[in-house]
Symmetry: C2
Subunit: 345 residues, 2 copies
Amino acid sequence: MSVTIKDVARLAGVSVATVSRVLNDSAPVLEATASRVRSVAEQLHFSPNGAARSLSMQRSHAIGVVLPDLYGEFFSELLRGMDQAAQRGGYSLLVSSSHHDARGVDAASRAMRGRVDGLLVMAPDVAPGALEKVLPRSVPTVLLNGRAPSGAVSAIAVDNYGGAAAMTRHLIELGHARIGFIAGAANNAEAQQRERGYRAALKSARIERDPSHTVRGDFTEAAGVAGARALLAAASPPTAIFAANDAMAVGALAFLRDAGIQVPTDVAVAGFDDIPVAAFLNPPLTSVRVGIAALGARAVEQLLEAVTRTNATTGPAVAPRREVLPTELVIRASSGGPAGARIKS
Amino acid sequence: MSVTIKDVARLAGVSVATVSRVLNDSAPVLEATASRVRSVAEQLHFSPNGAARSLSMQRSHAIGVVLPDLYGEFFSELLRGMDQAAQRGGYSLLVSSSHHDARGVDAASRAMRGRVDGLLVMAPDVAPGALEKVLPRSVPTVLLNGRAPSGAVSAIAVDNYGGAAAMTRHLIELGHARIGFIAGAANNAEAQQRERGYRAALKSARIERDPSHTVRGDFTEAAGVAGARALLAAASPPTAIFAANDAMAVGALAFLRDAGIQVPTDVAVAGFDDIPVAAFLNPPLTSVRVGIAALGARAVEQLLEAVTRTNATTGPAVAPRREVLPTELVIRASSGGPAGARIKS
DNA sequence: TTGTAAGCGTTATCAG
DNA sequence: CTGATAACGCTTACAA
């Protein structure tokens, strides 16, 4: 098989303990011995076995990431932020995706037992109760963008409610009274929060909500196409369309173009997330900026803090935290607002 | 700490060996004993420690993925395909990104030693020689979309050359003689191959290449904006722009819109990769379809084949393979071609 | 059918 | 400063 610390020890004429000490410089070693060890290790292309290391040190320097999906620019941004923060802390990412129910999350997190020092779980479509039941208590965990669970687990999320409300207000201020909403899946926590924000803003403005002005999608471009089509078929079609995420807004824009409807002149369009491509769309998409990569990075940082604070023997020793990241309105041409403006919410 | 197999054994009144046998059903156990063990394991929420398991079995059921970057829809698609294929085979993904030089790849792959059964390395901007030197010979490895290395390592790639040539021909057939090219980074293998395809197609058509019709980018949207701007500032500006990837094509489209230039009437635009959003752009983007997720999946499958064939004691026992995936031209409105056509190349 | 014990490759403790 | 050796948690002969 592969070359082990024993091989290095033998060839260098020392004990494995000494090799370990040299390579980690965890204890003083005669420079003569040390350099001999180093050169042998070099020649043999030795690098320590991670599994053995994890087992012995009770630390894997890896964190597990459990995701619902891996579709679209949102997730690559999220992973990018996570990976950066992890690498900064000397950690790697063990990724597992397409877990949409509690059982899937359970299976994924079990499979990671012993291989990760902490868990990042994003499961917007799993009920908090069910979720909490399957989360391992052996490693620190941070929940991402879900419903805040009842119990003692840390969570970080985006201000979905506030962002959606701010966007809705923006459209209202632009003079729109009939604002269509392309919602996300009914059981998706983020989708629900954004929808509540939309409704609340309408209510505050004393605008009665037309039920035919809300259609349900699933966060994909195709759903945006279908959603826009449905909204415009309403008895009194909306003059603005707010999609619960950017992918659906992209679909809406595509539909409107095909239908020969001008944006924003005939219908204004807005999205949520502000994925990188949003600024380059035609027209550029007004959106709610989330700072996706920053969200991922923050989640990792919070988790790593808990990990390093967690003494292996005493168990999780850090109070669960709940963090909500603010959003910012980014106004571009698709809404017909004062392009370039950014409004913190 | 966490509950181990010993705890289960003790509470069930059996030996750890029996617990192991029951949980993996690796040997016959009296049903009475078995169910007792299972129920104790259940109650204790036991799941085996992965590191210990890997160490003992010499198999981690994880594969390492070393990437240059994690930016844009290309990489989320790629990871999606990989994750799907991995999950199908009972494997997880250990991801490490932003490795642009041989040293980075070296560090990443060393860090994965003992934690993964195989390695997927994408390093288009690392010279094959340098790359091969740092690749571990202890685990099977598959190279993704790089230059084919000299030696004995498997590789899988997309037909960048053929795809780019086909796209260039498409634009020529549409009547364009001045075709601008927004290239990728000079040291990026994929970018080079695509550029060679573009040049070859021009040559075949006896079109003399205007040096000012090639500008260099870096695969980002911003580079596409700058590239389009530079091309249109040429003494005799091109009537078509072919960007070496879709992200840059997106940037080009954005620039053209801002400049009030009609696509495809004034200038035709084409990209490469056919990322999912391409079909929803305005206008829809003509591109070279790569099947990004399929590429990732295929890479994992090929690697897994090598992994399962690799006997732990005899070392890699599978002949290195080289696979090139075909591309397909997807013609949409941005090139002004017969929309909906798909041409295999 | 079950238990004992020898690894797997490191790190860390304890003598020397 | 260095070497034995006991963990780490699991699997798997080998015995019984």
